[in-house]
């Protein structure tokens, strides 16, 4: 028995902020104080609060330290772990409540959250199967194998109302039912862990923090549809997740939870990993399967759907990581419990990766139906530097921007589509008044052009033409009729592209044109970028606050600034390269852009 456990986050965010060094130092200090038998250090998955990393929580009192530095460790060990006095100045500010210390669960960041898919992240050591088992792990698999028929499992998943968390929101139970009905000598269960949406890291955190939940769910799915082999297709860019999955699969095999005759029954199921090689289109199901087969990851027309002809021509189900992470809980707690959360047509919770211009960047899991305002203002802690909220981008390159007027929309699959965006896998990027919406649309198109597989013409050529039009607009050469042409092309691509990548590629453009039309017009008619982002449309000026200190003139790399000492300076616009060095150098706020 240990008297205290110290949990340190070992997710990608905190590892990048130096949690490995913290753990090493912590272990060394504990050893030096002779506390090794009393205190255990546990490396866990993500707590969600990546912005404040590395995060460290000391149990049993649950004090939370944030932005922990290696140098802070000796003090924390000597004071807190040895003498039981938390080092208040190093605690996460939100947990220090006027003299008292409150737990992380009571902070604004956590209060409104409801953790189902992330329930074990930041709680257990993902590299030790016994810890997962201690938290009811593999109990759902046991229940399924001993008490339920395959049809019963599918019915339970259907009744829960769970919909695919990868983006499209297809009902999971329905998908499993199709695959079960198709008889074949071999069927496959696949997991899409190719989280390609830039700015989304939910699936990575689940795999890093609770890999066994996904393995257990895939075995349950195998039992339900009659498959004996599964594949997890994961991005090679996630080395920590890959490593933990490999450990988890090895341990599950050792315990007889994967392999032949699982838990003494006739059921056999095994899993293999396949590493992706950096192609966004491989998130599309038919492309993903082509990639597992060692081919170019190009989509093919559907039908036949994978439930009929999938991997190697056999019936296959493909679900995303977060979808699977919900399954064991649904089996254990029942479909009614799951269906009691959320809105009428979107049940349960959703994990969002909150990023961009927001104070609490990180991972949040909320019931479906939570409003954008609650996520941004309460959980996210608002916009930094007193700036104004401008838009929230959901759904990545397939989604759209949600403006202030829709900030009170209840988030679920159907509501997001109705306002021109989509759920997507759960990336949520917050933008403030300094972000130019035309530039953002161009950013996503640049991504799509790069990632288009090239198989169908609307996507290969259409997105390129869209990008060129946006380039024309942001460089000040746009005309009013370009906006009409652009919109027409958008609808054309939506209707004619082969797969979801192409069909949804126009969304970032359409949604920004819908909500920020004035901004497009400003670029085209006034040749002005209101947010001051598009360089070709922006100029720097020196105003009356200038005292003639010459700092800007010295900083200018092209000698575009002239003026006498103690006299007002001036920028020669023909020479200016708009690098912004003058603005940074000025200590009197005399340089403005517009």
């Amino acid at each position: 028995m240990y008297r205290s456990h110290v949990l340190v986050c070992g997710g990608t965010g905190c590892t990048s902020s130096g949690s490995k060094a913290v753990i090493k130092r912590l272990e060394a200090e504990i050893l030096a104080h002779g506390l090794s038998d009393e205190i255990q250090v546990v490396q866990t998955g993500c707590f969600g609060l990546c912005e404040m990393g590395p995060i460290m929580i000391v149990y049993p009192d649950a004090s939370c330290y944030s932005k922990v530095k290696e140098e802070d460790i000796p003090e924390i060990v000597a004071e807190h772990l040895l003498k039981g006095r938390p080092v208040e100045r190093l605690l996460y500010v939100e947990t220090v409540d006027g003299g008292g210390i409150r737990s992380l669960n009571e902070t604004n960041f956590y209060k409104k959250q409801c953790r189902v898919a992330l329930r074990n992240c930041g709680v257990i050591n993902p590299e030790v199967i016994d810890e997962y088992i201690a938290y009811d792990g593999y109990m759902a698999l046991g229940k399924v194998l001993n008490e339920m028929t395959p049809d019963g499992v599918i019915q339970c998943v259907t009744d829960s109302g769970l919909r695919g968390r990868g983006g499209a929101g297809f009902p999971t139970g329905l998908k499993w039912g199709f695959a079960k009905k198709n008889d074949a000598d071999q069927k496959y269960v696949c997991c899409n862990a190719d989280e390609g949406d830039p700015g989304a890291f939910m699936d990575r955190s689940v795999l890093e923090g609770d890999p066994h939940a996904v393995l257990e769910a895939m075995a349950i799915a195998g039992y339900a549809i009659g498959a004996t082999q599964g594949y997890i297709y994961i991005r090679a860019e996630y080395p920590i997740a890959v490593k933990r999955l490999k450990i988890a699969i090895g341990q599950a095999r050792e315990y007889g939870l994967l392999g032949n005759n699982i838990l003494g029954t006739d059921f056999c199921f095994d899993l293999d990993l396949r590493l992706g090689a950096g192609a966004f289109v491989c998130g599309e199901e038919t492309a993903l399967m082509a990639s597992i087969e060692g081919k170019r990851g190009e989509p093919r027309p559907r039908p036949p759907f994978p439930a009929e002809k999938g991997l190697l021509g056999k019936p296959t189900i493909l679900n995303n990581v977060e979808t699977y992470a919900n399954i064991p809980q649904i089996i254990l707690k029942g479909s009614d419990w799951f269906a009691s959360m959320g809105t009428e047509r979107s049940k349960g919770t959703k994990v969002f990766a909150l990023g961009g211009k927001i104070n609490n960047t990180g991972l949040v899991e909320v019931p479906m139906g939570t409003t954008l305002r609650e996520i941004i203002e309460e959980i996210g802690g608002g916009i930094p530097n007193g700036k104004k909220f401008k838009a929230a981008q959901t759904g990545g390159p397939s989604g759209g921007c949600i403006p202030t007027e829709h900030i009170d929309t209840q988030i679920d699959y159907d509501n997001l589509v109705a306002i021109g965006s989509m759920m997507g896998s759960g990336g949520m990027i917050i933008m403030d008044e300094d972000n130019c919406m035309v530039d953002i649309a161009k950013f996503f198109l640049d991504f799509t052009v790069d990632e288009s597989c090239g198989k169908c013409v609307p996507c290969r050529i259409g997105t390129k033409r869209m990008y060129e039009m946006l380039e024309k607009i942001t460089s000040g050469r746009g005309e009013l009729e370009d906006l009409d042409k652009l919109e027409k092309l958008c609808y054309h691509i939506q209707k004619n592209a082969l797969c979801a990548l192409g069909q949804t590629a126009p969304n970032p453009v359409l949604s920004t044109m819908r909500y920020f039309h004035d901004e497009y017009v400003a670029h085209v008619v006034d040749k002005r970028c209101p947010a001051g982002v598009c360089k070709a449309l922006m100029s720097y000026f020196i105003g009356d606050l200038c005292i003639g200190c010459t700092a800007c003139a010295k900083a200018c790399p092209v000698d575009a600034i002239s003026g006498a000492v103690k006299g007002k300076h001036k920028i020669d616009q023909t020479k200016c390269i708009k690098c912004g060095a003058c603005m940074k150098a000025c200590r009197f706020n005399a340089v403005t852009k517009g």
């Binding site: 990546c50 700015g199 860019e237 590493l275 090689a277 950096g278 170019r296 990027i429 950013f443």
Partner: protein
């Protein structure tokens, strides 16, 4: 993205080739295992020049153009050698809205190369990548395995200087 055949002479050793062929054989030259084989081949050589692709195609009994088609499809596979220090500037959405574009510009200027390129002394190569998943620290860049976060343009010189 367009990929070309590298102009830099191939310096593979017989030992490397023996390691590669034993990997191919361990997968019984199974066509379905081409992806993991290419990934392991890239680990051996650091990149996948046409010479390595030829070894793989011959050993597996499949056309070279099929191997080339796969290698050029996936961004992870590189036909150019990487520098001693490979710098990856994240251009994911979260990093982009926090100014990753300016970081990349400064890096290009500092190293005098474009993304995908390598400095003449073979010391640095530069890549623009899509999200390494450390969005909480945006904007970020990676030098080999080391992650640098919460960057400003001024940090670029300091980071490069560390490795010079």
């Amino acid at each position: 993205m367009a990929k070309k055949i590298s102009q830099i002479p191939f310096k593979g050793t017989p030992e490397q080739e023996a390691e590669l062929t034993s990997i191919i054989d361990s997968y019984s030259a199974d066509r379905n295992a081409l992806m993991p084989i290419l990934q392991e081949a890239q680990d051996i050589y650091g990149y996948l020049p046409i010479e390595v692709q030829t070894i793989i195609a011959r050993r597996m009994g499949i056309p070279l153009e099929e191997v080339y088609g796969i290698v050029t499809f996936y961004t992870q596979f590189s036909l150019e050698p990487k520098g001693e220090y490979n710098i990856m500037v994240c251009l994911g959405t979260a990093c982009y809205v926090r100014g990753a574009g300016d970081i990349l510009e400064r890096m290009k200027e500092r190293l005098g190369i474009e993304p995908g390129g390598c400095t003449l002394d073979g010391k640095f190569s530069l890549e623009a990548c899509r999200c390494i998943g450390a969005c909480g620290l945006a904007p970020v860049l990676m030098v080999n395995e080391e992650v640098y976060g919460r960057l400003t343009v001024d940090d670029v010189d300091r980071i490069v200087a560390k490795y010079e």
